[in-house]
Symmetry: C2
Subunit: 333 residues, 2 copies
Amino acid sequence: MNRSATIEDVARAAGVSRQTVSNVLNTPAIVRESTRDRVQDAIRRLGYAPHASARRLRTRRSSTIGVHLDPYAGGISGVVLDRFVHALTEHAGDRGLRVMLYAARTPEEEIRRMADLRDGGDIDAVVVTGTFSGDPRTAWLRENAVPFVSFGRPWGEDDFSRPDHLWVDVDGAAGTAQATWHAQQSAGARVAFLGWPAGSGTGDDRERGWLAGMPDDGPRVRLTAPESVARAREEVAAALAVHDIDAIVCASDSLAVGAHLAAVTGGRPDLTIIGFDNTPAAEALGLPSVEQLPEDVAAGVLELLMGDSAVITPRVVEAGAAHVLVEPRLIVR
Amino acid sequence: MNRSATIEDVARAAGVSRQTVSNVLNTPAIVRESTRDRVQDAIRRLGYAPHASARRLRTRRSSTIGVHLDPYAGGISGVVLDRFVHALTEHAGDRGLRVMLYAARTPEEEIRRMADLRDGGDIDAVVVTGTFSGDPRTAWLRENAVPFVSFGRPWGEDDFSRPDHLWVDVDGAAGTAQATWHAQQSAGARVAFLGWPAGSGTGDDRERGWLAGMPDDGPRVRLTAPESVARAREEVAAALAVHDIDAIVCASDSLAVGAHLAAVTGGRPDLTIIGFDNTPAAEALGLPSVEQLPEDVAAGVLELLMGDSAVITPRVVEAGAAHVLVEPRLIVR
DNA sequence: CGGGCGTATTTGAACGATCAAATTGTGGAA
DNA sequence: TTCCACAATTTGATCGTTCAAATACGCCCG
């Protein structure tokens, strides 16, 4: 095959005009059945595939979504993003969309990249991850009317009331509540929580779930460590010497691994410890963990972006339908 | 901003013709300096960005490489692939290339996807991962003259002599040799190897490195388990009861985690165990591991694909320069 | 048998860029 | 002064597709 066939070649082969071939591809319903068959046969014979760039130029639509790939932070939760991107790619393919990656080290550089890709007609929507309160990226996207969905809520005052920021997130509180319940039933009432220092939206949310799962009376042990196995281990080792604890629910698998190590060396190898993210590390150590279901998040993102439509348009969504909270699932081990 | 500016708008604003603007962008050397400045000023003022699809249609070049995302690619674990894709995206951006993802569940589906993307003018080249002997994907790519580079050698008879299959790989043998050396010096002469069942190219390669690092005389303990923490644990537990072992070099971090658990419960918590891939699991447990340096692999892939050229062309490479072996690095913990 | 209507198909133009060839301008040698 | 070589710039054509409008074809009704 020297040069791939064009729509003109197909038209000639089928004895029809360009536009009829185009109609067979895009609006088959308006073409008479006998003609349609003849054209489809010619398409198959010639191995014709429409030239995507030509189509994009004419329609001014790229059918491509841009995804920012976070720099590898060295942390465990990279796996969640990895699975999310994978699932997004699969679902997007099913809906006739392509996924284009871009890299950036700072929010400012990310905005520049998004602008380039948008202006160049390369993408017509963006998926952003790791949004935070006052995020300049989402502000830019709104101002420039670029359709977008974020994985993660904005963590502002009015997350649920703003239909101009579509987002999908995992219900962290529901996850830790499940974990807390399970721990109470299988280990005992005294369930501690090991979280990050207060102030991160995600962390505070996960702590809320633990609080909600605990009975209103009774003691509550709350431990804090930064996202580090070693620091978590120290904190838990110290706490075990002071408090009576049946189980620990953790805000992340890293923290859980640290807690596990402290428990083993502290003579409590049977202590129930539940992590969050269900990373390979938790799986390897046999720790239960809350699974984020990134596949469901990806499906939600595309649903918000496109709805039932086959193309991406700047959508105006009713206030109630602008957000998706995915219920995570506890993996018991 | 209603509709983004075109090259015609810029030309009008700068008082020159379309083509001169195009030259400023693509071959600045042939434009007089004063004219160039005037045009560049107009570009800035209007916020002009060339429309990528129009350019692609005309040049018949997409400046985009396709990457298959497969979480379970043979021999390349999730984190390594993740970092590789990220580094590839960054380097590609620096060279003016874009990265497009595609998903597929089987080699056949992958070929179909590649064909669609290629025929549609969406991608000029492909990066494939996890190649194996007799891989239908590479055969298809060669037949259809699609430029490609693989992360991973083909594991055939003549990997190094075929300039029609460009590849970059990590020198697994060098990695396990380093690990074996280190283990001998820090733990003792009796270094065992825990690998996968024979037959996988990657696994056999890593075993070779261990053999090469061991003295010619003396006992050699070789253990085998599939890629599973639990199975590795069983094998090592059994072996520790029989053999005198100072250290274990493993073909993967999963195997290493299993070995670690066996060592701890078997009363040898201090046994030196070295993994491969430097995943978060190894980091969390404080196990040394061989780091693959996916960033170097990504750089090598682009170097093979493009050389010094600014565009991707079906390259004919001299026999010696068609392959890159990246030397991995032992992370001591 | 002419007119009107609805369906099926064709035609010309446009999307925004680059290529190839033509044109203009400039200085130097004959 | 004339002519040529060379650099700088412009013009017309083209890439492959879809949009919008025009045309062809039946068919029914009065």
